[in-house]
Subunit: 156 residues, 2 copies
DNA sequence: AGTGAAAATTGGACGTA
DNA sequence: TACGTCCAATTTTCACT
């Protein structure tokens, strides 16, 4: 893995904040030439350190007013493959993590209403044969929700 | 809230995928004029439907190899304010949600190693006076992790 | 690698329908 | 609101340090 110097870290911080600012603005903030900024960004993209440039959409604008975390459990290991397939295909599922502890997987799900959530649970999750337990945590409010990776202490 | 037509939804889908493609590319994919694309994006940004344009950084590139979800509980309601302040200030915390159920808040946290996680728990979470219970789910792998909002069924 | 300036591409503003 | 044109701004390339 390519290592990051201080200029890279500053650049990544600024691009995580806003990837549409002109190279000239980045150049001024960091203190290197515009063409250097351009080279650096190219390199960071090519090496995969920057995985992409994405517009973020306000979920409420799309009518998605309900955020929930769902923990799912089963005992038969054959369940996993079918479960993951369904989950990956569902646009309601933002995240699916395999976690330690009493549960097998933790899902982050965005839907419109509680009715949609009910439908999701019955049609997508419990419809998978072998799923034995679920626990749903409904989000009342989100005090923090960021995608920004902290770049203070980089590996040497 | 401004309503979205089909052109908006197509545009948002494409920009969620990659916000750096030229307007000409978007114009061709959607089938409207370049200047229309430009107008639409401007409007979507002004109305807050697009909340921003952000570069995504691969966490591993920053040495963040451990993802965990931490549930936190307390009984004294005065704890919340202090807790949220610490959590918002911590670069390790990606998300903090107020949730229903046996716990008060659910955190999504990214750190380098288990040692960093241990330090985070003792110095940031348990250091808050009044925090009584925590449960940590360590992520072994993530089958899905997206930020894309589904735009199939828009509100009328 | 970094720089500055030229060349190519792109985005933003305006007038018209 | 959508369109096309024009001009300004921005990105990209390149020869040099």
């Amino acid at each position: 893995m390519a290592k990051l110097d201080d200029t890279d870290r500053q650049l990544l911080m600024l691009l995580q904040e806003d990837d549409r600012q002109p190279l000239a603005a980045l150049s001024e903030k960091i203190g290197v030439a515009v063409s250097t900024i351009n080279d650096r960004i190219k390199r960071l993209v090519r090496s995969g350190i920057i995985s992409g440039f994405h517009a973020h959409v306000a979920p409420e604008a799309a009518g998605l007013n309900l955020l929930a975390f769902i923990m799912v459990g089963w005992s038969n290991p054959k369940v996993e493959a079918i479960f993951l397939e369904k989950v990956k295909a569902s646009p309601d599922v933002l995240e699916c993590h395999h976690v330690t502890g009493a549960w097998n997987h933790l899902l982050k799900v965005r839907v419109g209403t509680t009715r949609d959530l009910e439908r999701f649970l019955s049609e997508t999750i419990k419809a998978v044969d072998g799923v034995e337990r679920t626990e749903t945590l409904i989000t009342l409010s989100s005090a923090k929700e960021t995608w920004k990776v902290s770049l203070e202490a980089a590996p040497s």
